[in-house]
Symmetry: C2
Subunit: 139 residues, 2 copies
Amino acid sequence: MGRMQYTRDNMAGLLRGHDINPTHQRLEIAHALFSRQEHLSADQVMAIVNTRHSETSKATVYNTLKLFLEKGLVREVIVDPSKVFFDPNTTPHHHIYEVDSGKLSDIDAEHVQITGLPPLPDNMVTEGIDLIVRVRRKD
Amino acid sequence: MGRMQYTRDNMAGLLRGHDINPTHQRLEIAHALFSRQEHLSADQVMAIVNTRHSETSKATVYNTLKLFLEKGLVREVIVDPSKVFFDPNTTPHHHIYEVDSGKLSDIDAEHVQITGLPPLPDNMVTEGIDLIVRVRRKD
DNA sequence: CCGGAAATTAGACAAAGTCCAGATTGCTGA
DNA sequence: TCAGCAATCTGGACTTTGTCTAATTTCCGG
C-alpha cells in the first residue's frame, strides 16, 4: 500500500470529499500543506502560496485555513504562544516540540496509552486529547 | 494538613525561596495568582493588580510573569491560540480546556499514566509533557 | 548623603489575526 | 448569450498580545 501522493489533481477530490468547493486559492493552500505533509503556520502558508507573485490575500489564507479546520481537513496545533500551526495529518497522533528551534514533529498515537483520566461530567464530550512533549537540546 | 494560605505576608518568603527579590509589584502579582489559585492571562493579572488605581505597568506585569516562569514559581499553559495562561500550580498535573467558554481546570497527574512514548534522541531532554483534554458542552 | 545597580515606567513598536465593504468569479436559468 | 445572484476573494484598516527602549525611580551599602 503506497503512500498517497498529493498532486494538484487529487487535491480537488480531497476538498470535495470534505464538502469544500475547490477554488483556485483553496487548491493552492491545500497543496501547500498536503504536498509537504508538514506543520505550517498561516504565515508560512501565505509565503509558499505567493512565492512566484502575489496571488492570495492574507484574509483568504486565514479564512481558508479556518474552513479546512471546520471541515476536518486539517488539525490545529497550539504549542507556540505566538502562532498556530496547521497540521495536514488528521490521524490520531501526538507531538514533540523542540522549544529552542520551534521544530514540531509527530508521534504516532498507535502505541501511546493514556490511562487514569478522570471521567467527564455528563454534559461534556471530549473533542480531542493533545499530548505535547516539550524537549530541549542537551548542552 | 490544611491548605496553604497565600497571604501577602507569606508571599515575600515564597518569592525569596525562589530567588526573587520581593518588590512591591512582584508581591502584588504573586498575590493575584496565588490567592486565587487560578489560571490567569497577563491581561487578567494586570486588571486585578490595577483595580483600585493604576499601580503596575504593562511592561512590569510581563517582565514579572516571565521572571516567575524562569524561577519555576509558575507554569505556562498554552491552550488558547490568542493568549498564554499562567498557572500557580507547579505540581505535576494536566489540564481540561472547555473550548467554548475558555474555562481551564486541573487534572491531578497522580493517577494518569502515559506509556508507549518513543525514546528521545540522545542529545534531547524532556522539559515537560503537556496533556490537554479539549472538551465541549454537549447540546 | 552619595553612587550605582536593580527595578519600574510610558509609550512606541511588532506580529498574528479579524473584520468589512467593495470587487470578482462562476453559475443558472431564460 | 447574458443578466442576476450567491459565493468567494481582496486590500487595508483595525485589534490584541506581547516586546523593546530609554528615561526615571527605588533601594542599598558604605
